[in-house]
């Protein structure tokens, strides 16, 4: 790869990184929020590197001063020619940023209950009573673990509100679902709650479902599955960070 093409690639990649991390929130579709400073720093560094290279090698083109180029052409086989491939992600994030993972990924995994929580040492209840009020906003994580493992019945008779995207199931069933990531989209894990008594909105639409717990299977065993009897389904806009399954107003995530 010629020096000047390298310069162009560094600039593309640097601008692309800044585009998704600094100028927009697109990076939240791919990686966890904590990586933002690292992405911005990388973008700035790549642009600086590209700019310095441009200045030193004579931006951009045909100053035949580099003895390295000869080496690159023939020297170690498959050398930096492989760097051409970096244009794919660089241009992808600049012009064609793919969407966040959605129902395709969520549908492939079974609605799996979260791991059984361990009793805490202090002896306090794992599942404190829900706050008082008409309808309680809950994260899917909290709701699924209560629906499967909470034998003390804190969900019984309560109206809850869950927000997530629509994942179609078999035979017209559907789920309100979330994906959670710990580092990047490659390690996404699925949380989903089957919704009864409401027609399915289109796949991947974001909805807030209000309803009551629909007990399924024997609570406290692997046989239990989280489900909800819906009383209202409202379309909402996709949140900025689609993987962040935490309800701000009330703590458990």
């Amino acid at each position: 790869m010629k020096r000047n093409i390298q310069v162009l690639l560094l600039l593309f990649l640097g601008v692309g990184l800044l585009h998704i991390s600094l100028l927009s929130d697109l990076y939240l579709r791919y990686v966890r929020p904590g990586l933002q400073p690292a992405l911005i720093a990388s973008g700035v560094l790549l642009i600086v590197l590209g700019a310095v290279s441009a200045a030193r090698d004579g931006f951009p083109f045909n100053r035949p001063r580099t003895h390295h180029d000869h080496e690159h052409g023939h020297g170690h086989a498959g050398g930096p020619r492989v760097a051409w491939l970096l244009y794919v992600p660089a241009l992808t994030i600049l012009f064609l940023a793919p969407p966040a993972l959605g129902s395709y990924t969520a549908a492939r995994d079974d609605a799996k209950a979260p791991t059984a929580p361990k009793p805490s040492a202090s002896g306090s209840s794992l599942f404190p009573a829900l706050p008082a009020g008409q309808a309680v906003e809950m994260s899917l994580n909290d709701f699924t673990s209560r629906a499967v493992w909470d034998t003390s019945g804190t969900l019984k008779g309560r109206t809850v509100r869950l927000t997530g995207f629509v994942t179609p199931g078999r035979h017209g069933t559907w789920y309100v679902s979330r994906l959670a990531i710990s580092c990047c989209a490659a390690d996404a894990t699925v949380r989903k709650v089957r919704v009864h008594a409401a027609a399915a909105p289109p796949a991947d639409a974001w909805v807030t479902v209000t309803g009551t717990w629909h007990p399924t299977g024997e609570v406290g065993t692997d046989g239990a599955a989280p489900a909800l009897d819906a009383t209202a389904v409202r379309r909402v806009t996709e949140p900025k960070d689609p993987y962040n399954d935490v309800v701000a107003t009330w703590g458990r995530g």
């Binding site: 590197l49 083109f61 064609l96 793919p98 390690d187």
Partner: protein
């Protein structure tokens, strides 16, 4: 696949055409100023063309292309692929910064002083030194390459390569968070990873052959007159672009498996203890999850024995598709295939041993 691939060729052609054009800047002095101005103007014009063309194409055909890419599996593949590359780039950059700094600023005698001269002793020291490089596995490959370039014995550099992404504090803390109330898992991971890397270093001393290893050659030989900073910049740029290309190859392979293999298939095998250890070891290779995140993935693989999950976390940072691609770029394919398969077997043995002992 992507239309992005189709966008690249015009650039390539232009690059080739450029190469063909004769150098023009050796004219007489008095036209130099004007010549420079013309050259700068024409160059910025040429440089602007791809940006305008690509931007225009994206604006014009963007909706069509997006619709064509809207097939949900394709979209998921692109997202996972982009995610792996994006989260790899900062760590790759960190690794190449460190490796370029080693090549440019740290004299070779520092390493000969720090490491025991006996290679068999240097291996465990280098393995333990892996704890100081914070980051995931993308960072360690270029660093190990530059260590070899600096005359560190390959066995020690390889022990460092294997241990650095597995036992640094960030990864251990992540493991602790992912397995709350189970510090035994952190200890088991630390011990099994260290054991594997030291064993591989010693194995290389006994059975390794120099000719498998294409020792990484720096982009800068000894450039006369080039300053340290210039050397730093050139090797940073070369190493980053080089390793970045291989990161893309590995990310594409890992994304393919990630999208093609549903996790629920794995549950079929979780009943047999031995099969499940081997299966998670294999899964770690295919999924290529970053070592800072693999503890969370391991924790989510409920139904598998602790030993199988340990194997997942020991193998992941040492052997995976992305790493095999990176290693074959840096050290050559002959090396990468042999080394990765030997490491896989060693890692499986070590984690079975440590898991049986501690978990």
């Amino acid at each position: 696949m992507d239309s992005d691939v189709d966008i690249a060729p015009p650039l390539r052609e232009r690059g080739d055409g450029d190469r063909a054009s004769p150098p023009r800047h050796d004219g007489p002095d008095r036209v130099d100023g004007l010549g420079t101005a013309v050259r700068v103007a024409s160059h910025s014009l040429i440089a602007g063309v791809p940006v305008v063309v690509l931007g225009g194409a994206a604006l014009m055909w963007g909706p069509d292309v997006t619709a064509a890419l809207d097939h949900r599996a394709v979209a998921a593949w692109r997202t996972v692929f982009t995610a792996i590359v994006i989260q790899g780039v900062p760590f790759l950059l960190l690794g190449t910064l460190v490796s370029a700094a080693i090549s440019a600023f740290v004299p070779a005698r520092v390493f000969t002083r720090l490491l025991p001269s006996n290679p068999a002793l240097a291996v465990p020291v280098a393995g333990a030194a892996g704890a100081v490089l914070p980051g995931c596995e993308c960072a360690s490959v270029p660093v190990a390459g530059s260590l070899m370039r600096r005359g560190v014995t390959p066995a020690a550099a390889l022990a460092f390569l294997l241990s650095a992404p597995a036992i640094n504090p960030i990864v251990l803390v992540a493991t602790y968070v992912a397995f709350p109330g189970n510090p035994g898992m952190v200890a088991a991971r630390l011990i099994a990873s260290l054991l594997t890397s030291v064993a591989m270093g010693w194995l290389w001393l006994r059975a390794g052959r120099e000719e498998w290893l294409r020792l990484p050659k720096g982009p800068t030989g000894h450039t006369p007159g080039a300053g340290r900073a210039e050397e730093f910049r050139v090797s940073l740029q070369h190493d980053f672009l080089h390793a970045g290309g291989f990161l893309v190859v590995g990310a594409a392979a890992a994304a393919t498996f990630n999208v093609a293999v549903p996790h629920s298939v794995l549950r079929l095998f979780s009943d047999s203890p031995w099969l499940s250890v081997a299966l998670l070891g294999l899964l770690a290779v295919l999924l290529a999850v970053c070592s800072e995140a693999d503890a969370f993935v391991a924790a989510s693989l409920t139904g598998f024995s602790p030993t199988a999950r340990l194997a997942f976390m020991v193998v992941g940072p040492m052997v995976d598709l992305k790493l095999i691609a990176l290693q074959s770029g840096t050290f050559g394919r002959a090396f990468a295939l042999r080394f990765s398969s030997a490491t896989w077997v060693t890692a499986m043995l070590c984690s079975a041993l440590v898991g049986w002992w501690l978990l």
